[in-house]
Amino acid sequence: MKYSIDICEKLVQLVSPVSAEIIQRESKMPIVKISAQEVRKVIQIAVSNPGLKFNFLNNISGTHLTEISEEGDIKSRGFALLYVLSRSDDFSSVVIGVDLPDLNPSVDSIDDIFGSANWFEREIYDLLGVVFNNSCDLRRIMLPDDWVGHPLRKDFQEKSSYNGIPTTREDELAAVRVDNL
């Protein structure tokens, strides 16, 4: 894999005075962590600066961060986004991470810089509920338009039926299971 700590340090240097911190230094993938307001600025520098030139978007992924107490209650800590960018000549890559708050998570959209960003953002909005400001088209992509809820959140509860179709199936083999013998 083409990640290196030198590229991350160069990026941190070139985006100053924006504060950026490198985490996971010793692992195979160091991440440059920035705050949610600086996402557009940092990515624009990463794309246009002649020393960096990361003009290929590999991936945008989102996660719901939670902690589980001893009783099993799920307490939400917020959301995390990860952007993976690469150079188009030798495909070396840099990884940018963002943390978002729990209530009304939102971040600026980058769909005018990269053509494929809109669909990645739509998927994260659909399945996690993160809103992308100034997006050209933010609506559900994977689930039906009348679906309620964001399934990839850790506290998502499945309903008992959807438009009349039940969401569980009666266990036809219940009579012969070990517990019922």
């Binding site: 994977m142 689930l143 039906p144 399934p151 959807y162 438009n163 179709i165 039940p166 969401t167 199936r169």
Partner: protein, 158 residues
């Protein structure tokens, strides 16, 4: 004057029910409804090795021209209303083969939030075929089982 052993070998004596059943079962035209992985095995069943057309079963693209629908793959809630619409557009008598574990009962994706747990929650099914995916020979066996069912039907009576 008796007819005992008088008829030559190319004359059959049978009942009209049997003849109708025999001719109907050898021309079951099926609608291609390939959703997921089982559709690849459906394509291979129509391919050169396990040829489904030698049973008289020709693939059609539209439900208006087909007697049989083979549901090959996982059905999701978003697709479910389309399946109901297509099934209602088929003319009776119509038959359904549910191919693969995903359309039988949800299969590998039984714990998913967006998958219908079995196609029979939406339309009535005649033959359930298990496998993930079932081999082309297994699909041909399901077709032969359906042919057995069609042969026994009393087509003209109420």
């Amino acid at each position: 004057m008796s007819l005992y052993q008088e008829l030559p070998d190319n004359v059959f004596i049978t009942s009209i029910d049997d003849v109708l059943g025999w001719s109907r079962k050898h021309s079951l035209w099926w609608m291609v409804f390939g959703l997921a992985c089982c559709s690849i095995e459906l394509m291979h069943t129509g391919g050169p090795r396990a040829d489904i057309e030698r049973f008289g079963a020709a693939p059609r693209g539209t439900p208006r021209q087909s007697d049989l629908i083979i549901i090959a793959g996982t059905l999701t809630y978003k697709m479910a209303s389309r399946l109901k619409l297509l099934y209602e557009q088929m003319a009776e008598p119509r038959y359904v083969i549910s191919m693969g574990s995903c359309s039988n009962c949800g299969g590998l994706f039984s714990s998913a939030y967006s998958v219908v747990k079995g196609v029979d929650q939406i339309i009535p099914v005649d033959i359930y075929l298990q496998g993930c995916p079932p081999r082309p020979e297994a699909l041909l066996e399901a077709l032969v089982a359906l042919q057995g069912k069609v042969q026994k039907e009393k087509f003209l009576r109420k």
